[in-house]
């Protein structure tokens, strides 16, 4: 009793618990704790209660629903885990405990190992095959988006849409994008879009940025398989520029962020509008070119000297006539030249035949008074006067005697 009197502060239980609670929270705040799970129990409220222990002791743990939803594994007794949380005291029971915000299977190395194994396996199976990747549709009019309806991804996509004034139809399939339920929901949504909305041109599957744990759903096999099986081309858009998710490898196109995915899809449509515009322009240009070709030819024709200066046109005929006439004259001259040559030849031949030339060689022709040539002695009578023509001049003679043979008589001169 004596001892009790020396202490002036008397606590109520509540006061003590509250004081201890404050001290614990002040002393430890947020800590990381390694331990083994035991007595794990998930209540229908969604809150989880368990103990964390090691060889030397144990501590109670609580994980509230909205934190437990983000667990990437299904906790089981005996699992080695690392928990992040705050140390506190539950005054109702007077027991101290850890309020867990995050819990992972022991070591991040486990996740990395899982990722590498899955990647290797799916790659071997051909899920990442480049040849399998489909081109995005040429006319993306209806876009399916599988993401959280309240997350950053859909907001970013709609912002891009607004900025680009794109007239497209967007169908959002709301899913959870983190936590243990997320992979199944994402995979189911991809299947549902394919079976119930097959007229969707392209699917964007993704979420905004976050920690590796937050993004983990996109590294799950079930999501990869659903993407692989999708008939609609899929763009994987997980807001994490640096690391590639399994979904990035599997999708037809990988976008670094949801905004980029929207830009890709809308860009495709704008590209198409531009290419139609460009084609129309080329059609116009080509026709203009062929029309201007024709008009050039017309111009060139009109510029020709004959059409510009008719006298030049006439001069061509004048000149033509001159040339023709000139050649006619030449032809005529040559014709006459040819004739005189002929005449000279004929003359020569005539000269040869002419008796005059024979006479020139010493022969003579006797002619009766009438000019008839005396060829035999009987042609002339004795005493008849005849004319004897010589090479030069003539002799008037009187026939003395006619003789049948040359030796028998000679004309008397």
């Amino acid at each position: 009793m004596q001892a009790m009197d020396t202490i002036d502060k008397i606590y109520t239980v509540t006061e003590l618990n509250n004081r201890a609670k404050l001290m614990l929270e002040k002393e430890f705040g947020s800590i990381m704790l390694d331990g083994e799970l035991s007595n794990f129990k998930k209540y229908s409220s969604g809150h989880c209660y368990f103990s964390l222990k090691d060889a030397g002791g144990q501590i109670s743990g609580v994980m509230y629903r909205f934190k437990a939803e983000r667990l990437l594994f299904t906790p089981k007794d005996g699992m080695k885990v690392r928990a992040k949380g705050t140390v506190t005291l539950y005054p109702v029971r007077g027991s101290y405990q850890i309020l867990v915000d995050e819990m992972h299977e022991q070591g991040m190395g486990e996740l990395q190992k899982k990722f590498e194994e899955l990647k290797k396996r799916l790659e071997k199976e051909g899920l990442f095959d480049k040849l399998r990747k489909r081109p995005l549709p040429s006319l993306p009019q209806k876009i399916g988006v599988i993401t959280s309806p309240t997350g950053a991804a859909i907001r970013d996509i709609l912002t891009v849409l607004k900025r680009r004034f794109s007239n497209v139809h967007v169908l959002i399939n709301p899913v959870r994008v983190q936590g243990a339920e997320a992979p199944g929901e994402i995979a189911a949504a991809i299947e549902d879009m394919n079976s119930h909305f097959p007229d969707i041109d392209v699917l964007i599957v993704g979420r905004g940025g976050g920690s590796l744990e937050d993004l983990w759903a996109f590294n799950e096999e079930i999501v990869a398989r659903a993407i692989f099986a999708s008939k609609i081309p899929v763009i994987s858009a997980v807001g994490h520029e640096v690391d590639w998710m399994i979904s990035d490898f599997t999708a037809d196109v990988r976008a670094a962020t949801p905004s980029v995915a929207a830009e890709i899809v809308l860009g495709r449509k704008e590209e198409l509008v531009n290419s139609v515009d460009a084609a129309a322009k080329r059609v116009r240009n080509a026709l203009n070119k062929s029309l201007s070709g024709i008009s050039d030819r017309l111009d060139a024709a009109l510029r020709r000297p004959y059409l510009r200066e008719p006298s030049l046109f006439m001069s061509r005929f004048t000149q033509g006539f001159d040339i023709a006439f000139e050649s006619f004259l030449t032809a005529k001259d040559r014709m006459f030249e040819g004739s005189s040559e002929k005449i000279r030849t004929l003359e020569g031949r005539l000269n040869i035949l002419s008796p005059l030339s024979t006479l020139a060689r010493g022969y003579a022709i006797a002619e009766k008074a009438g000019g008839a040539v005396i060829k035999t002695y009987e042609d002339a009578d004795s005493g008849e006067r005849i004319n004897v023509r010589l090479g030069r001049g003539a002799l008037a003679c009187e026939v003395l005697e006619t003789k049948p043979a040359l030796s028998a008589g000679r004309e008397k001169i």
Binding site: L158, A279, A280, L291
Partner: protein, 81 residues
């Protein structure tokens, strides 16, 4: 509805191909004038029609909901962001 869409998409690609062919023909420049003009008219008409198809789609944002296996869509209120 979905059938019709698919056909029109296919038609669009066909139209695009035809437009490209027209451009090539005209640019080659060895068709006679009357034929060129015909091609020109067809090309311009096709381009206008295609642009109309492209711009035609209405901007619509919908949220899919699934209740006991049935799908329905409702307007998505983007302004809430």
């Amino acid at each position: 509805m979905s059938e019709k869409k698919t056909v029109s998409k296919k038609d669009f690609e066909k139209d695009l191909k035809r437009l490209e062919d027209i451009v090539a023909l005209l640019e080659k420049g060895d068709s006679p004038l009357d034929e060129s003009i015909k091609l020109f008219e067809e090309g311009i008409e096709k381009a206008a029609e295609m642009k109309k198809n492209l711009e035609e789609a209405k901007r619509k944002i919908e949220l899919i909901s699934k209740k006991s296996g049935l799908f329905s869509t409702e307007k998505f209120h983007e302004e809430e962001f």
